[in-house]
């Protein structure tokens, strides 16, 4: 189930915006589709990410997928736990499986994202 307080991309990333900070990860739907995640390649702190452009790579035993940024901004934190425990993406995608935290430049970009109902509809069709 997509938590109602988050916003979503069509590429199955979620974002939680608190003030000018956005926490980003992939949804449980994405985690299930990928299967067991074995590696997450994330940008370094200080790097700029751009809305809908790739910011990293998630690799499972059967696939590799690009990660797309829901919002533009500067990376202020990276989930270091994923280095040794990439399986957190599967076990807790909306919690401990978060990927990066970004300082957002333009919070109105959120308007271009799906809300929980819109995302549920998208995945129901998939």
């Amino acid at each position: 189930m997509a938590p109602p307080d988050l916003r979503y991309t069509k590429d199955h990333e979620w974002v939680r915006v608190e003030g000018d900070t956005a926490t980003i990860g992939v949804t449980d739907f994405a985690a299930n589709q990928l299967g067991d995640v074995v590696f997450v390649d994330l940008p370094a702190v200080g790097k700029a990410v751009e809305q809908f452009a790739t910011f990293g790579v998630v690799e499972s035993v059967k696939a590799v997928s690009d990660l797309y940024a829901p919002l533009s901004g500067e990376v202020v934190a990276v989930n270091g736990d994923l280095g040794s425990k990439p399986e957190l993406v599967n076990s807790d995608p909306f919690g401990d499986g978060w990927m990066i935290r970004v300082k957002v430049g333009d919070t109105t970009q959120v308007d271009e994202l799906l809300d929980a109902a819109g995302y549920e509809k998208l995945t129901a069709e998939a």
């Binding site: 074995v38 590696f39 035993v61 590799v64």
Partner: protein, 472 residues
Amino acid sequence: MAYGPHTPADRQRMLAALRMDSVDDLFADIPVGLRSSPLRLDPPEPEQLLMRRLDGLAAKNRVDLASFLGAGAYRHFSPPLVDQILLRGEWYTAYTPYQPEVSQGTLQSIYEYESLLAELVGLDVVSASHYDGAAATAEAALMTCRATGRGRVLVSRAVHPHYREVLRTYFHGNGLHFEEIPLAAEGSVAGTTDLAELERRLGDAENPVAGVVLAQPNFYGLLEPMRDASDLVHAAGALFVAVVEPVSLAVLAPPGAYGADIAAGEGQALGIPPQYGGPYLGILACTEPLVRQIPGRLVGMTTDVDGRRAYVMTLQAREQHIRREKAASNICTNQTLLALAASVWLAALGPHGLRDVAALGAARAAELEAALASVGVARVHAGAYLNEFAVRVPNAPAVHRELLERGVLAGLVLAEAVPDEPALADALLVCATEMTTGDDVATFAREIGALLADAGAGAGGSAAAAPVGVTA
């Protein structure tokens, strides 16, 4: 199961299903001017006549020469055991099956190759395998760009000119940039990479360097200060690529010992006969942090559901059948048979045998240096070498040609191999291995000494300094 190419009847059935009259109709979208014209081939011949013709061509090979040619391909003794194993039908394909785990034997052989090479180069991960040393070196350079997110690679001019040529091709049109570091010109470091120039170029903060490529031994047979270069490279946040000759690693420090991040090299020296155009064997190895950047097959050892030892293709997500255009490379055929040859050769020799091979080559090369010096043919460079070095020979191309007539393959004419190095215009690159006999050395020294003496007498000057007036 019928196993044959499409018969005319098969083709007709397929064309009928497509509602087409000829195979050419499939290419109707390609303008006629762009289509290839028919190949002009000789008519078919019966097999026995064809064999006779091929035997005639093979007879043109000169196997009688005392050879001092190395320059990236080296002759070593290969025990009959190696061929005996290679010719077994079970091995006779270069392909890794698409469900590789059903072929445990193939995977085990690749695992053995990777384990042996990892021990030789002193790095964590070895992939199997690449077309040749040049391709592996180019892939190594690309790895440094992917891993650092930078696009500038520095390559020593003491790296094999063919490898640099291939690098230039790999770096064409992809937004990446490669530049060459010149050779030090004078003193004991002449012929090795100019480290002051390397440091200067690494210092360009506007234009950070992804990777630096040096060869050990270098193209001129000289030993490079790899540890110093490695420290300079890492201080600039770049990655260090060592291009190595695997047999030398039995006596020289391995790349892992001087901090190289990636090792690349030509594996032909591991008991594969030198042959024009290959097939050869590209070696590529890296440290564990770079494992997702390395192209080629990786085989790991694990246990199956019943707890038995089993081999798997590992980290396949890097590869093109999963990652498509974002794969680590387009490598799809690995040189398994050649990797197997190298493994069998290494296993047959063992670590002590390999050290003997390297040490014997070095000893023969020292004899060669002394024998040539005694007839007035001196080394070009002063630095240390292992089993290959350049010698100053006036009018080198003509001398080389004349020596061929006298049964000596006098190494490589550097004026032809590196025409852009004027300091080496009158020089031959010569090498010795354990295959070089004392008689070979004596013949070479006698013949070149006689040639130079004749030329010197003809020109009325001293033998060593005068240009050689060899008749063509």
